[in-house]
Amino acid sequence: MIFSQIFETINTGLVVLDKEMTVRHWNRWMALHSEISSDEITGKNLFEFFPELDRPHFLRNCRSVLTFGHFCFFSQKLHQYLFPMLPAGSLAEEFQFMQQSCTMGPLRNDHGEIENLYLSVQDVSEVVSYQKKLVHMNQIDHLTGVYNRNFMETQLQKEIERCQRFKHDLSLLMIDIDLFKNINDTYGHQCGDFVLKKITQRITDKIRKTDFLIRYGGDEFCCILTETPTNSAFKVAEQLRQVICSEPFVFKETSFETTISLGVASLNENDVDVESLLRKADTALYKAKQNGRNTVANTTR
Amino acid sequence: MLSSVLIVDDSPVARMIMKKCLPANHGLTVYEAGDGKQGVKQYLKQCPDLTFLDLTMPVMDGFQALTEIKKNNPKAIVIVVTADVQEKVLQRVAALGALHTVKKPPSKATILDALQQATAALEIQESS
């Protein structure tokens, strides 16, 4: 009596399945969030209602619980959810489906033999939302909204490893605003901030979703171009140079022109780590500056 | 009639358990060996009617020992005793000529059944 009340009122989804994956129990939480009542689903095969669960990974975990009597954990990180359900309240905008952390365990009969298994479903959407915000805060430059240097160091490392694993191309652009100090000195820091924001906007509009724009330092930016060989990287760099110099910036009715210089570096067999690739891009940028600014250069041309 | 058995297992406890599972007053002569190599040596020396053979052993494993024994005497009656009863293992020992497989840990019932199977096999050999 007490246990059945807990079963029905607990703020966790609880499901009992037999070895044939027939639903034996389905608590009120499950009914509420799945919009499938206990009467509807009890006695039926789980996969009739949730065909997406009928896959090797889920079945393997069921067999393992039934055989070894241990527990299986379906982490939100890997699965996001097992049962597609709508997220509650304000989180509906953030997630398409409720984020779940699920556990599966054995249920034994009086002889200690495993006869059924249970699944518990916990709504972790709120925690995931906080986690996302924290990660975001740690990776994003507050002024411009593009990635920060902290993010770049780990991401570039990952991209380099990926390229080596799959033999893909990778290029890096080092971008510096020409004579940025003059803008600050002439029009004030507010205007300088405005230019930084506008420039990142124009660049973001020109690059692909798979590329990463990073604010590397004060007026220095960096762009990771995934799966891009040197030739294409040069074309992108040239487009970025043009999109900045082609149209003047207007701040509080003052119009002025700004240009950027870009250094291009691509991954090859000789430079395999973050440092050497960055050094190459830096050298290229220095050369672009030497060539008279508002230019694109790499270390060889 | 079965009159002698050889138990090949590297674990002294496993051999002790096997002996405990033999029927009371069995009247069998029991020989023992602690690895595959010793097992083959004992087999050649004693020519037991039945050999219980563990699979995972140092020096020479059960698969090799079974091969050696069968090479010397294709009629040798060998019953494999193993905890790992996955299909591929069962197929492999059967292909090498094992009469039967007993799952570890053994019990009086599974050993009795094994002895009966061995007796039947022996009778067929003797009548032919």
Partner: protein, 214 residues
């Protein structure tokens, strides 16, 4: 079995423990093959018993050539209680992901490959630990429950390991086994970290196990 803690078990108890582990790992191989649909061989486990404070030095010596490792930890609770530590050399997670994702089910998900490998390691660890401990418990007539597994160390360099990951006064039953999946060898080490109370129970359970054949 070595004599690092000679007073803990008698020779007979050590022999029974070794045989129980042999049977548990053999049965676990067979059942694992069915559960994960992959041909598995768990090699004959090598058993050593040591004190918690000896663990870092022991690990360092045993895994010398392997460089860095990943350590998965999982608590288990029954009459026999403790923590299981499953240790794989760095790189094993890539092989495990290939093996356990032959249908490409997981790689179609939009997840970072690092997280995928990490989570696979934890999931596979959960199954392997559950299989081994479950079988040991079953043989000794115990029922255990488990905490969620955690990856407690990633790319961990054992040589830097000054401090033991377990209490100095605890006991570690080291079970060294090689998990062989299909054609690939993935070497793993399983350690059961336990306490005096559980050791006392284990000694009784071992003798009951042997008596059950009378």
């Amino acid at each position: 079995m070595s004599d690092i803690v000679p007073e803990l078990f008698t020779d007979e108890e050590k022999d029974i423990l070794q045989e129980v582990m042999n049977i548990a790992f053999g049965q676990a191989s067979a059942d694992l093959a069915e559960v994960i649909d992959i041909f598995v061989i768990l090699s004959v486990p090598e058993i050593h018993v040591l004190k918690g404070h000896q663990l870092p030095g022991y690990l360092c010596e045993e895994l010398q050539s392997s460089g860095t490792v990943n350590i998965i930890e999982q608590g288990f609770l029954g009459k026999f209680s403790g923590q299981a530590l499953l240790i794989f050399p760095t790189g094993a997670e890539k092989e495990l992901l290939t093996l356990f994702n032959q249908d490409q089910e997981l790689t179609t998900l939009d997840i970072d490959i690092d997280i995928l490998e990490q989570e696979t390691l934890v999931e596979v660890g959960n199954i392997l630990i559950g299989a081994c401990i479950g079988k040991i418990a079953e043989l000794l007539s115990d029922v255990v429950t488990y905490d969620p597994p955690r990856l407690i160390a990633k790319d961990y360099c054992l040589e830097d390991c000054q401090q033991s990951p377990v209490p100095a006064e605890s006991f570690a039953i080291s079970i060294r086994t090689v998990f062989r999946f299909d054609q690939q060898n993935v070497e793993g080490y399983l350690f059961l970290i336990t306490n005096q109370h559980s050791i006392d129970w284990l000694k009784k359970a071992l003798s009951t196990f042997l008596e059950s054949f009378e």
